[in-house]
Symmetry: C2
Subunit: 503 residues, 2 copies
C-alpha cells in the first residue's frame, strides 16, 4: 500500500476519523459552524445537495398520496405536556421563548421584555401541535387517512454538536398520518420506512439495515419505532431515518377521534416519520475518502465540472468557446429525471482541480488545445480515479453510463465494507473483544456490527451500553428466527439483533 500517497485531507481517516470528518466538510465548502451555539450554516454546495434530496424524497412521498402543509414553529408548553413520555424525552433540550420584545435595560443595552403568559417551545418535533390540527380536521372515517408532511427546521438543544450529524437546529421533514385502523397505520409506518430505505440505498448509495428499535431506544411516546441503520467507515452505525407507529397515544393526548360507519366514536391511530440533514453527514462518512467528499451522482449538486486548460501558446478564447459549447451540449441531456448539472471552472488557478475533487463532483472533464484538435475531452472519475479521452460525439452517452457506474460502484463499495465488518458473535468474550480490540492498522477503529443474541431484557441492554457504549441499533426486519443465548446473560433469545457503537 502506498502509505505516503499525498492526500487532500489531513488527517486521513486512519489517522483521526472524527477530525477527518470535520476537515472533509470544511474542504468541501458544504457547511460551517455559526456563531450561534450548535447551529450550522449550510453553504450553497451543501444546500444544493439538500435541495436534490428534498426533491426526490418529496416526490416519493407525494406518490403515496401525502400532501405538504406547514404548522407553527412554536409549541405552547401545555401542548408538549399532553403526552407524558414525549415531554420527558424532549424537556432537556428545548429552546424556550419567554418574551416577545426587547427594551432598554438598566445598563443601557437591550433586555427581554413583554413576558409571555405561557412559555413557547421552539419545535423539537411537531406531534402535539399537528395533533391539535388533526383533532379539528378529523370527525368521520371519511376524513381518513389523513396524510400530511412538513418540511421544516427544528431545534433540539445539543451540548456537543457536529456539523450535519448533531446540531441544535437542523432541517428535516416530518410526516404525520392518522388512520381508521391499527393495521392501516402500521402499514403506513412500514411503507414510509421502505421509502427511506429506497431513497438512502438507491439515491445516496448507502446500504442500510431495516429494523425495529428496542423499547429503550424508541421515540418518546411511540408504540414502535422502525429505523434504517447504515455503517460508517469507522464502523459505527448511523440512523438515517425513523418511522414511528404511535398507536392511539397521541390521538388520545390530542383528542383525534372519528365516527366510524357504525356511528361509533374511536380514537385514530397515528404515525410519524422523519429524515433530516443528518443524512448528509451519513453520506459523507459512508463515501468520503482521504481526498474529500464523494457525491453520489443521482443527488450530486453538479454531475460534471468542465475545466478548460489554457496553454501559453494556444488560443484561450477558442478553448473557452469549446468548453462552453461542450457544456451547452451536455445541458441538453437528462439524468435520473433532471437536466445534467454542469459547472464550468475557467479560473486559471493552481489547485482548481483539487477543489472539485474535495467537493466530490462525480466527473471532471479537462479540455486543452490537444483535446480540441481531436474533438475530444479528457474524463476523470472521482471514485476510481480512472482517466481517459472521450470523443465529444460519444460524450452524452459516456457521461450517463459513467454516472451509473459511479453510483453502482459507490453502493457496492459501501455494501462490501458493511459486510466485511458485520459478523455473528456468540461468545461474550469475543463480543467484548470485538468492541474493544484495536485494529492495528486503524488504531481508533474497532468492531463493526455484531449480530448477537439478546434475551429482550432491558437490563442486559443497559449493562452492555454501560460497559462498551454499544447499543442495540435494531432488531432486523428480515432477520430469521433462530434460537440462541443472550450474549450478556445467556438467557433464551429468539433472534439475533444488531449491536454497534453509534452516532
Amino acid at each position: 500500500m502506498a502509505q505516503n500517497k499525498k492526500t487532500a485531507i489531513t488527517p486521513t481517516r486512519v489517522e483521526d476519523y472524527p477530525e477527518w470528518y470535520q476537515q472533509v466538510v470544511k474542504a468541501s465548502d458544504m457547511a460551517e459552524n455559526s456563531p450561534v451555539r450548535g447551529c450550522m450554516v449550510i453553504k450553497p454546495w451543501g444546500y444544493a445537495l439538500w435541495e436534490q434530496m428534498v426533491a426526490v424524497l418529496d416526490g416519493m412521498f407525494k406518490e403515496t398520496g401525502v400532501k405538504n402543509a406547514y404548522f407553527p414553529l412554536f409549541i405552547p408548553l401545555s401542548f408538549l405536556e399532553k403526552e407524558a413520555e414525549h415531554v420527558e424525552g424532549f424537556a432537556k433540550e428545548c429552546a424556550v421563548v419567554t418574551h416577545h420584545r426587547l427594551e432598554a435595560g438598566p445598563n443601557g443595552g437591550l433586555v427581554p421584555a413583554g413576558p409571555l403568559t405561557e412559555p413557547l417551545i421552539v419545535r423539537p418535533t411537531s406531534e402535539t401541535i399537528i395533533g391539535d390540527s388533526f383533532s379539528k380536521w378529523v370527525t368521520s372515517y371519511r376524513d381518513l387517512p389523513l396524510l400530511i408532511n412538513q418540511w421544516a427546521n427544528v431545534v433540539r438543544w445539543e451540548m456537543r454538536t457536529r456539523t450535519f450529524l448533531r446540531t441544535s437546529e437542523f432541517l428535516w421533514q416530518e410526516g404525520h398520518t392518522a388512520h381508521a385502523s391499527e393495521t392501516e397505520a402500521l402499514e403506513r409506518t412500514r411503507m414510509m420506512l421502505e421509502i427511506y430505505a429506497d431513497f438512502v440505498e438507491n439515491w445516496l448509495a448507502m446500504p442500510v439495515i431495516r429494523g425495529v428499535k428496542t423499547p429503550s431506544e424508541r421515540f418518546p411516546g411511540a408504540v414502535e419505532t422502525f429505523c434504517i441503520e447504515a455503517m460508517m467507515q469507522d464502523r459505527k452505525a448511523l440512523q438515517a431515518g425513523t418511522s414511528h407507529f404511535l398507536g392511539q397515544n397521541f390521538a388520545k393526548a390530542s383528542d383525534i377521534r372519528f365516527q366510524g360507519p357504525d356511528g361509533q366514536d374511536t380514537h385514530a391511530w397515528t404515525t410519524s416519520w422523519g429524515a433530516s440533514t443528518r443524512m448528509i453527514g451519513g453520506m459523507i462518512m459512508t463515501h468520503g475518502d482521504d481526498d474529500g467528499v464523494m457525491m453520489p451522482p443521482k443527488v450530486a449538486p453538479a454531475h460534471v465540472v468542465l475545466l478548460p486548460v489554457f496553454r501559453k501558446d494556444a488560443d484561450s478564447e477558442a478553448i473557452l468557446a469549446y468548453t462552453q459549447d461542450t457544456a451547452a451540449r451536455l445541458r441538453q441531456e437528462t439524468y435520473t429525471g433532471r437536466k445534467l448539472s454542469v459547472e464550468i471552472d475557467s479560473r486559471d488557478l493552481a489547485g482548481r482541480n483539487w477543489e472539485w475533487i474535495k467537493k466530490g463532483v462525480p466527473i471532471r472533464l479537462e479540455m486543452g488545445p490537444r483535446d480540441m484538435a481531436e474533438d475530444a475531452v479528457f474524463m476523470f472519475r472521482r471514485d476510481t480515479g480512472e482517466r481517459r479521452a472521450v470523443k465529444r460525439a460519444d460524450l452524452g452517452v459516456v457521461i450517463k453510463e459513467t454516472l451509473d457506474a459511479i453510483q453502482k460502484n459507490m453502493y457496492d463499495q459501501a455494501l462490501a465494507f458493511q459486510k466485511a465488518h458485520t459478523r455473528n458473535v456468540d461468545d461474550k468474550k469475543d463480543f467484548y473483544a470485538w468492541f474493544t480490540a484495536k485494529n492495528p492498522e486503524k488504531p481508533e477503529i474497532h468492531g463493526g456490527f455484531a449480530m448477537a443474541h439478546w434475551c429482550q431484557d432491558a437490563g442486559c441492554e443497559a449493562e452492555i451500553k454501560q460497559d462498551l457504549s454499544v447499543t442495540i441499533r435494531c432488531i432486523p426486519l428480515n432477520g430469521e428466527e433462530e434460537e440462541g443465548r443472550c450474549i450478556f446473560c445467556g438467557g433464551k433469545s429468539p433472534r439475533r439483533v444488531v449491536f454497534a457503537k453509534a452516532y
Copy 2:
C-alpha cells in the same frame, strides 16, 4: 344588477370586506388560525399554491446566478444590536429565547430552566447573521459579487394578525448580496425588484406599481427601499415585495470588507430583498369574488378538476373509467413548464361543485352519461362562469387556451380595477374627501390610489397619516417629472407620489 344572486361567501365584499376575506380563506381550505398566538397553519391547498410560487421564484433567482443557502434561526442579541436603526426597527416585535431546557417547577408543572448567557432572537430577518458569514466569505474583490438566497420562516411578533397578511410567523425568501461597487449593488437591487414585479404580474396576475419608499417607510437600516404595490378590491394598497439597497451600513456593522485589485481595503455594498406568504393574501384579495378564491392558472395547485356525474339509470363504473381516462390524457399535457395538475373528485356529494369553486380551480369539467356518449365533457370557467361542451379530441388544446385566457382575463380585470380607482388629485379638500367619502354602493370602501404631489417633507407625510391613515406607498419609478404643489402644505414638488391606505 342581480342583487339577490346567491353567493358562496357570506358576507359579500360589499357587505363587509375584512370579514369576506376571512371567510374566503376559510372556505378555500387554504389556511387556519393556530392555537399559537398569531401563527397560522397553512393547509395542503394553501401550501400547494406556495410550492408553485416558490418553484417559479426560485428558478427566476437562480437564472441570475443566485444560490440558496441556510443560516441559523437564532440571532444573538448582540448581532441585532450591531446596526442601530435595524435593532430599533425590530425590538418591539421579537420572540426571545432565554432558556434551553425545562425542569419541574415548584407547583408541579414544567418551567424554563438553563438560562442562556445571551438571549437569542428568533430571526425577524437575517441581515446581521448572514452578514457575519459574509464577513468570513469575502476577502478579495474576486469573491464578489456574492449572491445568496434563503427560504425560511421568520417571526415578527404581531399584536393584530390576519391569515397570510400579517402573522407572527410567516414563510419567505430573503436574498442577500454583496458587491464591489455601489453601482453594481444598486443594479442588483433594481434587478430583484423587476423579478418580483415580473412574478407578481405575470404569474399572480396582479398589476403593480414599481416605486421607491420615502425615508420614513424604509427598511430599518436601508439606504433605499424599492417596492411593488398592488391594489386590493377594497382599494387599499398591499406591498408585495421589497428590495433594499443597504449601502455600506450593514457591511460596516458586520465588517464585510474586500481587497480591491489595487490592494485597497473597502467595505462591500450590500442588498437584501424579500417576498413572503403575504403575497398569497394579496392574490386572494385581488382576484377573489363573492364565490371565493380564484387561482391564477399559472400557479394554481390544480389546473382542472374532473367531476364525474352519476345518474341512477347509468353505469357508474363506465363514467368513472371515462373520467380516469380523461385525466390520464390531460396529465400528458404540460402548461407553463409543468405537467397539467388534474384532480378527480368522484364523491357523490351535494355541494361538491361549490367546494371547487370556493377553492378557485380555474377549470371544472363535468362528465355524465350524455357527455360520454358524445365523447365530450362539459367545461366551466371559474372566472367568467362560461360553460360549454368540448370534444375530448380537442380537450388538451382547449384547456391550455382557456387557462391562458383566464390568466389574461384575471390580469386585465385587476388592471382595469386599479386604473378605475387611481386618479390625480391636486386639491387638498378633494384629497381628504377621496379618502373619507363613503361609496354608497360599498359603504366601507373609499378612495383608492391618489396620485398627488408631495414636497418631500416628512412632516406633511406624518400629518396626512395622522389625519387619514393614508401613507405614501411609493414614489413611482416610471413617474414623470412634473412640477406641482404639495397636497398638504402647497410647497414645491418635483413629481407625483402614490398615496393610499395600506395593509
